[in-house]
Amino acid sequence: MENNTNRMKEQILRTSGVNPLKCMRCGKCSGTCPAYDEMEYHPHEFVYMVERGDIEPLLKSESLYKCLSCFACVDRCPRDVEPAKLVEAVRLMVIRQQGQNHLKPDQIPEMLDDELPQQAIVSALRKYAK
């Protein structure tokens, strides 16, 4: 079990290229995040939880899909930690564990609604249509 957690952490760190130890826990990422209220785990918590190896709850959390990948946290982080890349890496891990069940591009139009921000569509394509 311990090994599995470590392995997942390693994989996330490797795919994201992020070093969570650089974080000084200022919370600017969460202060900056436009999707903060939608999220169960906020950007700074993502960083902290990955650092601690607390990956399981993140994998199960809806927060993964609330992140817009707007990269505001990456841009503003004073320590160059890049939280959004971590979120992305956790997301990728989920997708990989799911196998080949992701959306096809032609499934997307019917799911769209007018309220949906443009940016979300673009990042959704990036997220789901690999």
Partner: protein
């Protein structure tokens, strides 16, 4: 032939553990020139030194070799011992058998063998040593302080009080620096002007201090005790000695639209101006970029109204050359530019300000007369958000900001928050912090008072975004302890901008050949033991040019720098390093190769008459070394093709003797 004594140290077991010291002493006894060879537990102890002392006396030794720890450790000790026994201190050589032998080798046999070889090399060198006497250079008993802020003023006052003349060079029209712009000072909340301006006046009136305001250092030559400095006195178009500082011209000048840098451009001044009421020297200065008379030749109002006839439009920059024995860098700091921090809307809204701008808004002499009013509409702000660490503590890889903690922001932000709540209890004050760092006497108590007595809302978290909406500023921030994102409608946002060394510091460091770190702070000679000295002899550091500092620290460092300067200036002569280059005139070609590689300009040429081997006389150009300037690097000795140039203490013959001994 030398009479050499060899002294092998056990250093407890540090050496004796891996090196058979008795065998070393025995082996070295039969080296050429050696008359006595012995070992002892601790050569550097009093008993050990006494032993060396006695041995020198009894055996009429002309040189000694101590096989012990690194010469960087105890060379000075053993030189003193030798001197006390009447031996020239430069007849001592150290064989480093600890750091470079016993500590890096494990095998006794190998260690012993190497120790013997190292000892042999040192003996070979001593055989060729010659007594050396350090040259002496006189000290110019006068100091230059570069920068007229609190650091420079305090250093100058302390040096002047000790009886040495001091010049302060300040690039602005007045001394006072950043402290003159502050309102109150933490943690006692006394007014900055009330404690600073008396010092400025004291400096101005001190018989040993000369203030060169509106001046810049242009060039520095020379070395410790003997610097020659070129100072440019910029034309202020006002005769400094005649102007009474009445200020009439500054009221009558028709050019009213000059951004006032003293108030951080939050209001305007005239083209002729005195930065602030307590300026020292209290003399008007014409800003040539805005003066209509200087630009177009038409106006002359100030000259007309000046009863003292102090205005002189024809003034030119003046270069003066002065000599000093010591130089103190006190160039201070500036807040970094907030322009790259777009998320805080600094460039979009006038109501997002830096802490220094906030100081001016709170200051009775500031643009609002001390009333806290918003720069945009002059209204009283009801909700104020302070953001700490803006641009401080950033990653080296981040696109903006500084890596270090600016140190002073936590305290001044607490001060601002407290003062705001004190003056305007109806204001809501939020402080967003990453950590509150308050190590300092009465500092944490001060911060706690802000929270507990003044009701400042301290929020652990960071502001992510500030967006102007109507006349409000929408602040979006995290509250990490509540695990919430906050949205605050603020009237004013104050950014605690990181501080950086003044721009003038790097060119100054180049002129001084002083070293700097990657952030352009001056490097100290030793971070713990020599914190106010630069590695360049005769150059001292005072205040924030060495690193971020608050006022109490700056003042104590200023005093420390002054003490070091006084210690230097109190000497009549400086003893130099006797291991300097020397040229054999008979062999010198006068080719200038040595001169070209000398980093100190220590080599000059004279043309002298020589009686040549063929009995003719000839005029020859030959090199001469200024021993006071030479630092003994030896670059010239290799550049010299004829071998005329050699280095005392590290002569070619000595080094080759060591090579031979090692390779034997």
């Amino acid at each position: 032939m030398q009479r050499i004594g060899v002294f092998v140290c056990h250093c407890g077991t540090n050496i004796a553990g891996t090196v058979d010291v008795k065998a070393v002493a025995e082996a070295l006894r039969y080296e050429p020139g050696v008359v006595i060879s012995t070992e002892y537990q601790y050569m550097c102890s009093q008993a050990g030194q006494d032993m060396i002392h006695e041995a020198i006396r009894e055996n009429n030794l002309t040189g000694i070799v101590v096989c012990s720890c690194s010469p960087r450790m105890h060379e000075a000790t053993f030189r003193k011992t030798a001197q006390s026994a009447g031996l020239n201190p430069y007849m001592v050589e150290i064989a480093n058998i600890r750091e470079q032998c016993s500590w890096v080798h494990k095998d006794m046999e190998i260690g012993t063998e190497k120790a013997i070889i190292l000892g042999r090399a040192a003996i070979a060198k001593v055989n060729l040593n010659a007594p050396l006497t350090p040259g002496e250079t006189p000290v110019t008993k006068r100091a230059l302080v570069i920068g007229g802020g609190i650091a420079g003023i305090q250093t100058a006052l302390d040096i002047a009080d000790a009886g040495f003349p001091v010049d302060i060079v300040e690039t602005k029209p007045t001394i006072g620096g950043k402290m003159a712009q502050l309102d109150k000072t933490f943690p006692t909340l006394d007014c900055a002007a009330c404690i600073l301006t008396p010092k400025m006046v004291e400096a101005a009136q001190h018989e040993n201090i000369r203030i060169l305001s509106y001046s810049e250092v242009q060039d520095i030559k020379g070395f410790v005790g003997n610097f020659t400095v070129q100072i440019k006195k910029k034309a202020r178009y006002v005769k400094e000695d005649i102007c009474t500082g009445c200020g009439l011209c500054t009221e009558k000048c028709p050019q009213k639209k000059v951004p006032n840098e003293f108030n951080l451009e939050m209001d305007n001044r005239r083209a002729i101006y005195i930065p602030f009421a307590q300026a020292v020297p209290k003399v008007a200065t014409i800003d040539p970029n805005y003066c209509t008379m200087l630009k177009t030749g038409k106006c002359g109002v100030c000259a007309k109204v000046c009863t003292a006839k102090a205005i002189d439009y024809t003034q030119k920059d003046e270069i003066m050359e002065e000599k000093y024995g010591a130089i103190v860098a006190a160039t201070g700091f500036n807040p970094i530019s907030m322009k790259p921090f777009d998320e805080y809307a600094y460039s979009q809204s006038k109501d997002v300000i830096t802490s220094l701008e906030f100081e001016r808004l709170m200051n009775a002499a500031g643009p609002t007369g001390g009333k806290l009013l918003r720069p945009s509409d002059g209204k009283h702000p009801h909700t104020i958000v302070f953001v700490q660490c803006v641009g401080s503590r950033c990653s080296a890889h981040a696109s903006k900001g500084k890596e270090y903690c600016s140190k002073i922001c936590c305290m001044y932000t607490a001060k601002h928050a407290m003062l705001t709540r004190d003056k305007y209890p109806d204001t809501d004050v939020y402080v967003f912090y990453i950590d509150v760092r308050t190590p300092g006497k009465n500092f944490d108590e001060f911060y706690r008072r802000a929270v507990e007595e003044y009701g400042v809302h301290y929020v652990k978290g960071m502001v992510g975004k500030v967006s102007p909406e109507g006349d409000k500023l929408m602040v979006q921030a995290s509250d990490l302890l509540a695990d919430k994102q906050l949205h605050i409608e603020a009237d004013l946002v104050v950014l605690a901008a990181a501080i950086e060394p003044d721009m003038s510091a790097r060119p100054l460091a180049t002129m001084l050949t002083a070293s700097m770190d990657t952030n352009d702070f001056f490097t100290e000679a030793h971070p713990k033991l020599r914190p106010v000295e630069s590695p360049t002899a005769g150059v001292f550091l005072s205040g924030a040019c060495q690193g971020p500092k608050d006022i109490p620290e700056t003042v104590s460092q200023a005093g420390a720098a002054a003490a070091k300067v006084i210690g230097l200036l109190a000497k009549d002569k400086l003893k130099g390093n006797p291991c300097v280059a020397g040229s054999d005139e008979w062999m010198c070609n006068g080719c200038s190769s040595c001169e070209r590689v000398c980093p100190y300009g220590a080599i000059t040429y004279v043309t002298k008459e020589f009686r040549m081997p063929d009995r003719t006389t000839a005029l020859r150009r030959v090199a001469q070394v200024n021993e006071a300037v030479c630092q003994g690097c030896g670059a010239c000795t290799v550049a010299c093709p004829s071998g005329a140039m050699d280095l005392k203490g590290f002569a070619s013959s000595q080094i080759m003797a060591e090579v031979d001994a090692i390779c034997k």
